[in-house]
Assembly symmetry: C2
Homo-oligomer: 155 residues x 2
DNA sequence: TAATTCTTGACAAATAAAATAGACTTTAAT
DNA sequence: ATTAAAGTCTATTTTATTTGTCAAGAATTA
């Protein structure tokens, strides 16, 4: 039972954006450098997060990505959902019941109830944590903020 | 974030054993037939569960497997632990910190705390459910018990 | 128009999950 | 003792998923 790197990288990247947010959109190359994630791969993840409504983007010079809501309105659960596709411990408790691999014991299975309850509890917790919480934590533990290099020249 | 089939099959199989328990050891072929799991694959899973201390076995004719503790003393968490090897949402919160893929941000990472707390909550719940609870559920929903075919001839 | 940045879809390598197979050992019953 | 019915051990194979790379394209700003 492991979370894929898409979720882990996705959360790290969005936290990074929230923590280092400036007036200009954040660029892949900066985020990937700070978080040590392959820029090409991060692009892909950001497309998923865009489709999930968490990110918006602007092309062209000085373009980049920005959060589509305030950090305290973006939960970890939403990020995982967008990155992972769906968040279920086992297939048989997926919400969109159009899942192909339906188990032949569906709905008359005592183990299904366990997986469902476990998934719910997990989701409850992950829904209770927002990007703002992470930023507060980071600040509390004294994590440095990097200045936007695009401003460096004017100092 | 999915649980592997080893855990799902493992739980189903152990529940099956607890629910249909008789005086003789339960045999792979019966469990696999009732639960529709490949017998050869179930053998493998049972080896893991044996190593995890949940099962014991007797060889030879009329041999088979039996639970090494009472159903109310076997938790779902223990089963997953034995089947899955280790139960962690992400590598960086594994207990046996000898994990190779240590993240370079270890211990100074705000996302790590989230994964750790989520793993803990999940484990807390799964540790609170035992095989006996599953049997009670099954009984309550009227699931049929199969008679042991090895007794059939004497009826 | 030129440079920069995101967009899209295809592709490939690596890893892990799932299942199958065969030779072997132990045990109970006869 | 012999035999047949179990479990045991270790490979191997197959399949699916994850992870990551690449290249051509489209939008935007300066």
């Amino acid at each position: 039972m492991r979370l894929s790197t898409k979720s882990r990288y996705g959360l790290r990247a969005l936290f990074d954006m929230a923590y280092h947010a400036g007036t200009l959109p954040a660029q892949i190359k900066d985020i990937s450098r700070r978080q040590n994630i392959s820029p090409r791969y991060l692009e892909q993840i950001f497309q998923d997060l865009k489709r999930g409504g968490l990110l918006k983007s602007r092309r062209g010079p000085q373009g980049g990505y920005f959060l589509s809501r305030k950090p305290n309105e973006i939960t970890v659960q939403q990020i995982i959902m967008a990155a992972e596709g769906e968040m279920a411990l086992v297939d048989c408790v997926k919400s969109g019941k159009g899942c192909k691999k339906e188990c032949e014991f569906d709905n008359q299975c005592v183990t299904q109830k366990i997986w469902l309850e476990a998934s719910n509890r997990l989701n409850d917790y992950l829904s209770s944590v927002t990007l703002k919480d992470l930023c507060d934590d980071a600040k509390a533990m004294g994590m440095e903020k990097e200045l936007d290099h695009r401003f460096m020249y004017f100092i």
